[in-house]
Structure formats: structure tokens, C-alpha cells
Amino acid sequence: MNLHKYEKIWLIFGIGSLALFLVIIGFAAFWKGTHPQSHIETIDPQNVEAHEAFKPENLGLNEEAEGKYTVNIVASAFNYDLGKDENGDRVDTLRIPKGSTVLFQVTTTDVVHGFQIAGTNVNMMVEPGHISRYETVMKNNGEFTIVCNEYCGIGHHLMFGKVEVYE
């Protein structure tokens, strides 16, 4: 089979760019460790409280060390449980100081949900039986909306929360 001379140039250029691109994402993934979330850890969706992180008292924002936080969230149709405040009222806004490192851990007790903090790279599927985790540094201050971005039923669009990053 014969390739036209220009086609050869075109393909060499194209395949070369492709190779370069793959090297870049491979470098980012394996040397810089920027894999998408993939924590192969399972949990019983009917009994998520059995896991330390998802006990009612551990939900929401927990300070682990200076500038280091964990956020534990139980998703269910059509709600994110972000824990309770000192008065025992449900939290609907997570208030996090700017520059802190935050590990988000989310699981679901029923169907598949999404978990995205709009305007950031925190974006994961939340599936029954699995724990989804993503660690990030909150670099920008402002108000960010948490949205469920995977269809979970007729209240899907009513499933949200808020993150406030303050100076």
C-alpha cells in the first residue's frame, strides 16, 4: 500500500504530536501522581456507619492538623450529609480557610451520585459500595457550589451544598 508523500508528512506530524501528548499525560499521571480518583476500597452501602469516617459524629469538616482537613460526606437521594454544627443543626456550608489541604471522602447509601465542587477539580462519581476520595489544596477563596452531577432520580437537581473558602 502506498502513502502519498504529503500524507506521510501529515501522519508523521500527527502521530508525533499524539506521542508527545501521551508522554505528557503519562508524566503527569505517574511522576506527578495526578491520577483521577480511584480508591479501590469497598464499604457496605447499607451500613456505612461501620466505617470510621462515616460515623454520624465524624461527618463534615474535621481538622486533622494545622492547615490539614478531612471532609466526610454521606450522599443519599437527594442530600449530602455534611454533619451537624455545635447546636445540632445540619450543616449546609463547609467553611474552609484558604490554602488548606483538604481530603474529601464520599460514599452513598443508595444509588449512584456525583460529587463536584463547581469551579475546582474535585469531581467524582459516588457509587454504592465504594468510597470516593480526592485530596486538593483550596487555593482560591470564594463560594463554590457542590452539585450532584450524575442523575440520581427526580430530585437530582435539588441535591447540592456549599463550600466557602475564606482568607
Binding site: V111, V112, Q116, N123, G129, V147, C152
Partner: protein, 549 residues
């Protein structure tokens, strides 16, 4: 190459698929319009109809029904033209039609009565009515019947024409159907083995991650199943319309083989943000995904080389002079051409979607919806419209009159403008974090959400323009099917150059290509699926109430 003529009975068969196609377009398009209205925040659906019911109708009817019926009907006609269809095959083809239609009606009734608001991806553990899953299974089984008829058509032709290479279009149809059968095995297993017993209550729980993995094993090749018929038109039909020849028969075949090999073992790029799948395997499938860049570049080269060669043969020697001389006023050319152009930004968006890390920014945002309206609804569907303009009159013994041609040009441009407005605003809203598959909502309020809603207004404007384009298309279809003046419309299939080099025999070594395809699939899926099974959590019982049952 000698083209065969269709008997009346054959034409009726092919037209049956077209009737379903354009009925679906009208119904699905209306749903799309209503969706954009609802999302503008200024409109509520009447009679207590739920947003997600119409979204399911839209996704199933346009994404699965309209495309499949058009493609199978068109491909039957391609086979009929190039290798012929026997009476026996025609009767079997009617079976494929009726099985698919029955399945469609079963699934649609369940969706319309609110028993199956699970969207076209029907993710577990949301449970639809069992009849919905049976309906889906029938659609797939019907399409397999069609595939095996196509294989048999080519087989008989080869037997009668020993030693000759198969006609290019018959070859392409065969590749597309091989891909389709291999890919739909995944969803068939998922529906028959996981969903049906579970929805009927014979099994208590379902493995959610496994069902999703099987879905996407099928879901990605599904988009290639839409794209390859458009490629067939670009490679072998558009050249004839512009008065040229096929650029290279061998390269066209090679690109189809590459598409076959690299369309299936890549489903993980839809599951990049999913827990429970090893990131290394995700990365491997990302790499395999990108191999498709190669046949795409080959296709782009061939098409533009044909354009240029044709123009130069007609005597236009300046660098871009040939470009102006393309038949812009012929809708049979214009519609597929716009489709090709739309594939440039569409493909670029696809590279972003499939990238290991960039995906996190846009995963499940309405960017994704913008992306496939650009690729499926613009690239493929507009090319299908371009095909309709000559295929339907050819089948009904009528003519595409200059008036209808002009209306077709208006139709194509309206569709383009509407899609551009809608899909651009979807892309931008997605980059700002706006979620997909969402009824109107102000979420937690605030500045971020306000920006989303303004783009949803723009989508409603785009949607309205699109709906006008749909009405026009359906009108033209009815004219071409029933009212246009009688006459002869050409079935345009391009020939090879006279001095074309012979096509290597190797390209028709089906066993070899299928074996490589299967080997790649086994490589990409065996270990991860084994791991998914080994590390599986307790299964999920069905959930009915979240979908309002």
C-alpha cells in the same frame, strides 16, 4: 463497478427504516426543545410531566432509536446497491425491522408512562420496569439479525465473485456491523444476565460497577457506530457528488480496520472519575482511546485530497481556488461538509474528555452534552440528512427538485446555527461547572449559579432554532417520500481512480482483524474486570422511589 437496481419491494423495506427515523426525529426534537425551555427557568411542563421523563425520551429516541434505524436502513441499501439482497434476505430484514420496532415500542411505553425514567444509560441501582429492559434487549437482537444478513450478503457475493475484492461500501458496512455485534455483546450480557433477573426480583442485588463497566464497553463503540456511516458517505459518496473519485481504496479500508480495533477496548475513558477501577488500567485505556487519532487524520487527509484533486482536474490551479468551486449550492454536498467541519472542534473536545486528568474538569458537566451535540447531532446527523436528500427520492422514484434543494440548504444552515448556539453555550457552562442531566435549579444560589442560568437561556434560543430546523427536515422528508415530482435520483457512489493501485489482499483477512480486535479487548478488560469482581462490595438492591415510581 456495476450498481444494482432496487426492486420495489426492496425500496419499501429501506423506506420503512426511514419512516421510523423521521418520526423519531420529530418526537425526540420536541422533547429537546421542551428541555431547553424548562432549563431556562421560564417554563414548567404541563400535566405534571417530569423533566426526567422527557429527558429519557429524548436520549432513548434520538440517541438509540433514530440513529440505529437510520443506520441499519442506510446500510441495507448500501449492501443492496453493491452486493445485492436476495428475497430471502429481504424477508429476514423485515424481521430485524419488526423486532427492533417492537422493542422500541415496549421501551417507549414504559418511559412515557413514567415507569422507566432512568435515562438512556439506565444506571443501576435505579430500577426501571422490566419491560423497559426487555424492550432494549429486543432492539439489540433485531440489530443483530440485520448484522448477520449483512455478513451473509457479502459472503454470497464473495462466493459468486471469487478472487475479487469486495466493494468498498460493503466492506465498510461489514466492519461497522462486526464492531456493533462485538460491542453490543456487553450491553446484552448486562441486560440479560444482570438487569432482567434483578428487576424481576430473581436476584436480590446487582453489581453496580460491573453493570456500568459493561455499559461503557458498549457505550463508546456506540458513538463509532453513529460515526462510521458518516465516514462511509465522506469516503465514497461525497466524492461522486462533487464529480471526483475515491482518493485511495486501500487507505479507506485501513482506516476502517483501525477504527474497528480501537473503538472497543476504551470504555474506561467514560469512567475516569469512578472509584473501584485501577488508575493504571484507566491510563492504558486512555492511550488506546487516542489511537483513534490516526484513522481520523487519515480520513481528514483523504477527504481534503479528494476535494483538491477534483477541483484541480476541473482546472482550478491556485492554492485555494479549488475550494471556491466546490458545489456549495448542492445540499447533498453542503450538509455532509458542515458535518465534517463540525468534527474538528468536536474531535478536539473529545481529546479533552478522554484525557486522564483534564477529564476531572468537565466530567458530567453539561460540556459533555455540548460535545456530543457537536459530534453526534451535528457531524453524524447532519451527514445523515445529507444522505436523506438523495436516498429517499431514489427509493421513492422521485426527484430532489431545485426548490427542495434550496429548502434543504436553509435547513442545514438553520440546524448549524441552532446547534452552534446551543452547543457553545453548553460547553462554556460546563467549563464553569454546570452539571448535565439536570432539571432547572437555582442550587444554593449565588453568583456562580447565576452565570449558569444565563447560558441556559442561550440554550433555549439555540433549541428553538433547532426545532425549526427539525420541522423543515420533516417537511422535506414528507415531500421527498410522497409529493415530489416523479423522476430518477442518482444513488451516488464514487469510483476508484483508473490508475489506482491494487488493494492488498491482507485487508480482507477478516479472521485476522477480528482476532486482533478480540485480543485488544481481552488485554484491556480481562484484569480490570477480574479485579472488579474480586473486590466487589455487597451488591445493591433495586431502588424504585427515586425515579418517582
Amino acid at each position: 463497478m456495476k450498481l444494482l437496481t432496487f426492486s420495489k419491494k426492496e425500496s419499501t423495506l429501506y423506506m420503512a427504516f426511514m419512516y421510523v427515523t423521521f418520526t423519531s426525529l420529530l418526537v425526540g426534537g420536541l422533547m429537546g426543545l421542551l428541555q431547553t425551555f424548562v432549563r431556562s427557568g421560564k417554563y414548567t411542563l404541563p400535566f405534571g410531566i417530569d423533566y426526567y421523563t422527557i429527558l429519557t425520551v429524548h436520549g432513548v429516541i434520538l440517541g438509540l432509536v433514530m440513529t440505529t434505524f437510520f443506520i441499519i436502513g442506510f446500510q441495507f441499501s448500501l449492501m443492496g446497491k453493491t452486493v445485492g439482497m436476495t428475497d430471502k434476505q429481504r424477508k429476514a430484514a423485515w424481521w430485524s425491522f419488526w423486532i427492533m420496532l417492537t422493542g422500541t415500542i415496549m421501551a417507549s411505553v414504559m418511559v412515557l408512562t413514567g415507569q422507566a425514567s432512568v435515562l438512556y444509560t439506565f444506571y443501576a441501582p435505579l430500577r426501571a420496569h422490566p419491560i423497559f429492559y426487555f424492550g432494549l434487549a429486543l432492539v439489540i437482537i433485531g440489530s443483530w439479525v440485520a448484522a448477520f444478513i449483512n455478513f451473509r450478503q457479502l459472503y454470497l457475493w464473495k462466493k459468486a465473485n471469487k478472487g475479487q475484492k469486495s466493494p468498498l461500501l460493503a466492506y465498510m458496512v461489514t466492519i461497522n456491523m462486526i464492531m456493533w455485534v462485538i460491542a453490543s455483546l456487553g450491553v446484552a450480557v448486562s441486560v440479560l444476565v444482570l438487569f432482567i433477573p434483578w428487576s424481576l426480583g430473581y436476584t436480590a442485588t446487582i453489581n453496580v460497577l460491573l453493570s456500568r463497566t459493561l455499559f461503557w464497553y458498549f457505550g463508546h463503540p456506540l458513538v463509532y457506530f453513529w460515526l462510521l456511516p458518516a465516514y462511509m458517505a465522506w469516503y465514497a459518496i461525497v466524492p461522486k457528488i462533487i464529480g471526483g473519485k475515491i482518493f485511495s481504496d486501500s487507505l479507506a479500508r485501513l482506516s476502517f480496520i483501525l477504527l474497528l480495533m480501537f473503538s472497543i477496548p476504551v470504555g474506561f475513558h467514560h469512567q475516569l472519575t469512578e472509584p473501584g477501577i485501577d488508575p493504571t488500567w484507566k491510563f492504558i485505556q486512555v492511550v488506546l482511546t487516542f489511537m483513534v487519532v490516526i484513522p481520523t487524520l487519515m480520513t481528514a487527509f483523504s477527504i481534503f485530497a479528494t476535494f483538491e484533486a477534483t477541483g484541480r482536474k476541473k482546472g482550478f490551479t491556485t492554492l485555494f481556488g479549488w475550494f471556491r468551486k466546490l458545489p456549495w449550492k448542492d445540499v447533498r454536498f453542503l450538509a455532509p461538509f458542515i458535518g465534517m467541519v463540525a468534527f474538528i472542534p468536536g474531535g478536539a473536545g473529545g481529546i479533552i474528555n478522554a484525557s486522564h486528568q483534564m477529564n476531572a474538569l468537565i466530567h458530567n458537566t453539561i460540556w459533555v452534552t455540548g460535545h456530543f451535540h457537536l459530534t453526534a447531532a451535528m457531524t453524524s446527523v447532519l451527514t445523515f440528512f445529507g444522505i436523506t436528500y438523495w436516498l429517499v427520492p431514489h427509493l421513492t422514484g422521485r426527484r430532489l427538485t431545485p426548490k427542495l434543494n434550496k429548502l434543504g440548504i436553509i435547513q442545514s444552515l438553520t440546524w448549524t446555527v441552532g446547534m452552534l448556539i446551543m452547543s457553545t453555550s453548553m460547553h462554556i457552562q460546563g467549563l464553569l461547572g454546570g452539571p448535565r442531566r439536570s432539571n432547572f435549579s437555582e442550587y444554593a444560589g449565588g453568583a456562580q449559579v447565576d452565570t449558569w442560568i444565563s447560558y441556559q437561556m442561550a440554550q433555549a434560543i439555540g433549541g428553538s432554532i433547532l426545532f425549526i430546523a427539525i420541522i423543515l427536515m420533516v417537511y422535506i422528508f414528507i415531500q421527498l417520500a410522497f409529493f415530489a415530482p416523479r423522476g430518477v435520483e442518482e444513488y451516488p457512489i464514487a469510483e476508484e481512480e483508473d490508475d489506482a493501485e491494487p488493494t492488498p489482499k491482507l485487508l480482507e483477512n477478516w479472521i485476522l482483524w477480528i482476532a486482533i480486535t478480540v485480543a485488544l479487548i481481552l488485554f484491556a478488560y480481562t484484569i480490570p474486570v477480574f479485579e472488579i469482581l474480586k473486590h466487589s462490595p455487597p451488591g445493591s438492591p433495586p431502588f424504585d422511589w427515586p425515579i418517582g415510581k
